[in-house]
Amino acid sequence: MKPPMKRKRTFQRRKVCVFCADSALKIDYKDVKTLNHFITERGKILPRRISGNCAKHQRDVNLAIKRARNIALMPFTVVGS
């Protein structure tokens, strides 16, 4: 007897990344408001599979966040209380 088929997890995947969808949106390390969407509450950078960014823009976001961290615009870590 065949084991029951594993149900495939169905979820809606975002098709395009926000930066590809809206070319007016620039990735800038000084623009903390936008970059805040791509970090967790602890300050870690969100992976691509969650943020839905394309590879190119994820790289840019990565760099921007790291620059922002360097100049203390963004935290390296947020320690929970």
Binding site: F11, R14, V18, F19, D22, A24, L25, Y29, K30, D31, K33, T34, N36, H37, F38, T40, E41, R42, K44, L46, R49, I50, S51, G52, R67, R69, N70, I71, A72, L73, M74, P75, F76, G80
Partner: protein, 146 residues
């Protein structure tokens, strides 16, 4: 020509005249190395995301400039490093190569901004609508909180 921008954070309690001297120094370096200063922006005291030399706050300055000489950047950074009032700085090259007409346009824009009184200058940070919030984030993120 390359376009750079340097952000530096000064001590929040540094007296006003020292802040001014520092800006003056930046201008002198620009003039001395044939750099084209586009703007110096004062963001004012801001809360730092982490403490730097025990300071929770710092005053941000943004310098935007064009130059041919990498030596200018080196000199600028050296000056900032030697100044005790400067907590941290970061230089980023924003454009590698600029066409002559682009340089001209930038210079003119900078010139125009100078003549305007401070209040009428366009807001430096464009208030763009943030991208759509990351809905899927909620699913995988649960275990990480707390």
């Amino acid at each position: 020509m390359r376009r750079y921008e340097t952000i530096f954070i000064t001590h929040p309690e540094l007296p006003e005249e020292d802040q001014a001297t520092l800006q003056e120094k930046v201008r002198t370096i620009m003039a001395g190395w044939k750099g084209e200063l586009l703007k110096i922006e004062d963001w004012g005291p801001k809360k730092l995301s982490y403490q730097i030399r025990k300071n929770a706050r710092g005053r941000y300055f943004l310098v935007d400039y064009l130059t041919e000489a990498p030596a200018l950047v080196r000199e600028l950074e050296r000056t900032l490093r030697l100044n005790d009032g400067v907590l941290k700085f970061l230089t980023v090259k924003t454009t590698e190569r600029l066409a002559a007409e682009q340089i001209q346009a930038l210079k003119e824009a900078a010139e125009a901004a100078k003549t305007l009184p401070v209040e009428e200058r366009p807001a430096p940070a464009p208030a763009q609508a943030p991208p759509a919030p990351e809905e899927p984030a909620k699913t995988d993120e649960g275990g990480e909180k707390k």
